[in-house]
């Protein structure tokens, strides 16, 4: 199995992409792999565009930033933010995103235009992750649905993902752990239908 994986996480400041990053980091370390993960602090966190580069490999990782055209996938909690990092995506790389816009700018583009652009890429998973999370009774777990949807494309075991989710939410109690695991598994299930 290919172990070298470059993932860009995208969203708007405050949408919680760093939780996804933390689970990827923990799962990778659990698999004895090297990790580098960059993140954005400071001004952009105030409602601006934010991204995190996650790099996982069994070999030493040099750069903290993913070179252009080298990302295996972009996981986004917002459709326009997904497209912001397209120059980083490699040929046949995967786009995974929630379909719900975060409209905090006055001239936010037409949703159909965004969706058409996303659909013009062969490998995409465009899902209403927020609705899926809400239906499961935990709208805050949108990011876990997306992580689940991406999980089979990432060379880390399902077991290590589940373990990392349990570890990360441990402090918040068993019920929250269960809710997040449920969201992750649902995302995984839905993506399996799309990808197959």
């Amino acid at each position: 199995m290919r172990t070298k994986t470059n993932i860009i996480l995208a969203g708007v400041g405050g949408q919680g992409i760093l939780t996804i990053a933390a689970i990827l980091d923990t799962a990778a370390l659990d698999n004895n792999l090297n990790v580098k993960q960059s993140e954005v602090h400071g001004m952009s966190q105030r409602g601006g565009a934010v991204q995190s580069h996650v790099r996982i490999s069994d070999k030493p990782i040099y750069s903290d930033l993913i070179p252009q055209g080298k990302a295996d996938m972009i996981i986004s909690v917002e459709p326009m933010e997904l497209l912001r990092y397209l120059p980083f995506l490699k040929k046949d790389g995967y786009l995974i995103t929630d379909s719900n816009p975060f409209e905090n700018i006055s001239n936010y583009p037409e949703l159909e235009t965004l969706y058409n652009e996303i659909k013009s890429h062969k490998n995409h998973i465009l899902i209403n992750a927020m609705k899926i999370a809400k239906d499961l009774g935990n709208s805050k777990a949108t990011n876990m649905v997306l992580l689940g949807a991406a999980s089979s494309l990432i060379p880390l075991s399902d077991e290590s993902f589940q373990k990392a989710i349990a570890t990360l939410f441990e402090r918040k109690g068993e019920r929250i752990v269960a809710k997040n695991l449920e969201a992750y598994l649902k995302g995984k299930e839905i993506a399996a239908e799309i990808v197959s």
Partner: protein
């Protein structure tokens, strides 16, 4: 066992393990997490390591020097522009030297992600004639910090560690080592060391000059400066700090055919640079920030085009390095799968929903329509977002504290109304002295302290101003009739406009404190603020 740490956190752990007794700092992106890590560290708490925030970078550095004077190891941390504030003590403590190990950590912000310039702190290190360390990865952040304290005590000088945003804010697995003990109190052996009257200062400066050859020798033998013997001598590469990672990213499995000199310790090691210069056809210099090394080793008249980098245009002159601009300089192709689609629009940062600054700007914007020539002088922090749409309330933004004093100067020039908008923490950091200037001359300016009781932009740290603003203004001698407190809420809009208008019309200094807690403050901090509620003007 590897711990997953940000570069900033690895550095902080290195400082704890080096046996510091205190860290002094004022928050500033990208440096903030260093101090926060120590504040949250159990070991640091158990070892009684001082870690509370200082009022500004100058007070922080002076306190760190005081701890060093007492014989203990101390660290002072700031963002790059913070070193401008602390420059007075920085330049003079290199002359006095230190007693307990003292390390200055400065995080630069190439590409200005959260800053107003991309100044390169290595120039300050050279200016002060002290050693500079520049880690390239998270593991080195940890090791270099421990080493920095040894080096500081060996030379009797402060040591500068230069970080950059991408290293500060990127995580990787770090292996930590043994913890060194803290120092006991011991006073300087030489009683005149810290007495920089001219007759003693001359001796201390001579000492600093005399140490330079030792510093060079140490740097030339440093384990953090490494030489890779390449086979292809058409280019020799000098890569400093994080630039080394971006360079190596361009070679599969780190197999680079060119000779590489990695630099993480200064003064610039002369021998390996000469070796590179003598054996290679060209030298490519890769450094994040200004062309510091390139300038130092380039021919002044530009007759010798052997050295290339940012000055020659092979690397963009401004902005941070990345694997791609280095690939370009090496002549490698970058295969892009697609361009940025036109449908993607910019999403600049903005004030949070429910932020009090928002309602203050609404009031200011109404008054802007009423008065001709109204100029609003802004300041650093979240209130700086008033420059952007939809507010567009602020005309200037330069540095910490400039709102009040620029309003004063503009008022002296004949501008009226001249309004200053400054956050509460920025006011205690650098606004108080400027207000005193205006009070002394009773300059007709209106100072609005937008008090959200937090250092908000960097993560809602405790503000030194909380509960103290009224007594500070009174203590500086402000006429109490022109000290007003308002609550910036939409329902108070008309009342607030009336109060601000009245003070604009006053022919002297007024201060209006617009008080509403930051929405990012956790509940327990908001509750704590209620203790200050009884602080009234009378």
């Amino acid at each position: 066992m590897k711990k997953l740490l940000l570069g900033n956190e690895a550095l902080a752990q290195g400082a704890i393990d080096a046996g510091i007794s205190g860290v002094y700092a004022y928050p500033g992106t990208p440096s903030t997490e260093i101090t926060e890590y120590i504040q949250k560290s159990k070991i640091a708490q158990e070892s009684n390591i001082h870690s509370s925030w200082s009022v500004n970078e100058k007070t922080a550095m002076e306190a760190a020097l005081g701890m060093s004077y007492a014989g203990k190891k101390s660290m002072v941390v700031m963002k790059h522009v913070g070193l401008n504030v602390a420059a007075d003590v920085f330049m003079n403590m290199s002359v006095s030297g230190i007693n307990g190990g003292l390390v200055v950590v400065v995080a630069d912000d190439p590409s200005m992600h959260s800053s107003q310039n991309e100044q390169d702190s290595r120039y300050y290190g050279k200016f002060a004639m002290i050693p500079i360390l520049e880690p390239s990865n998270q593991q080195e952040c940890y090791e270099i910090t421990k080493y920095a304290f040894e080096l500081s005590e060996e030379l009797g000088l402060p040591v500068l560690i230069r970080m950059v945003t991408r290293l500060s804010h990127s995580r990787a697995g770090v292996i930590t080592g043994e913890k060194v003990a803290q120092n006991n109190i011991h006073l300087p052996k030489l009683s005149t060391q810290f007495q920089l009257i001219p007759m003693h200062a001359r001796g201390r400066y001579q000492n600093l000059v005399d140490l330079q050859p030792d510093m060079l020798k140490i740097s030339e033998n440093s384990d953090f400066n490494t030489f890779h013997q390449g086979t292809n001598k058409t280019i020799g590469i000098i890569a400093s700090g994080i630039a080394y990672n971006y360079l190596m990213e361009n070679f599969e499995d780190g197999e680079c055919p060119y000779p590489i000199l990695k630099i993480s310790q200064y003064p610039l090691p002369k021998n390996p640079i000469k070796q590179l210069f003598d054996t290679c056809e060209k030298i490519l210099v890769l450094e994040d920030g200004y062309p510091f090394i390139e300038e130092a080793i380039s021919d002044f008249l530009g007759e010798n085009r052997k050295i290339i980098g940012r000055l020659s245009g092979d690397i963009p002159r401004v902005g941070e390095l990345n694997p791609d601009n280095i690939a370009n300089a090496l002549g490698f192709d970058i295969v892009l799968n697609g361009d940025l689609p036109k449908v993607v629009l910019g999403r600049p940062p903005q004030l949070c929903v429910g932020c009090g600054h928002n309602d203050l700007f609404d009031a200011i914007n109404v008054l802007k329509k009423e008065t001709e020539n109204q100029q609003v002088f802004g300041d650093i922090g979240c209130s700086a977002l008033g420059v952007l749409s939809p507010y567009k309330s602020i005309n200037t933004l330069i540095e910490m504290g400039a709102s009040i004093t620029m309003a004063k100067g503009a008022s002296d020039a004949g501008i009226h109304p001249a309004i200053a908008v400054i956050g509460d923490s920025t006011f205690t950091h650098s606004g108080m002295t400027g207000l005193l200037d205006a009070i002394i001359e009773n300059t007709p300016i209106t100072v609005i302290i937008s008090d959200n009781s937090a250092i908000a932009m960097t993560g809602a740290q405790d503000s030194a101003a909380s509960g103290r603003l009224i007594s500070i203004c009174k203590g500086l001698g402000l006429d109490e009739d022109h000290l007003k407190v308002i609550t910036p809420l939409h329902k108070n809009l008309q009342e607030n406009i009336d109060i601000i208008r009245e003070e604009i019309n006053h022919k002297g200094v007024s201060v209006i404190i617009a008080q509403r807690p930051c929405v990012q403050l956790p509940k327990e901090k908001k509750d704590k603020l209620k203790e200050y509620k009884n602080v009234s003007i009378n």
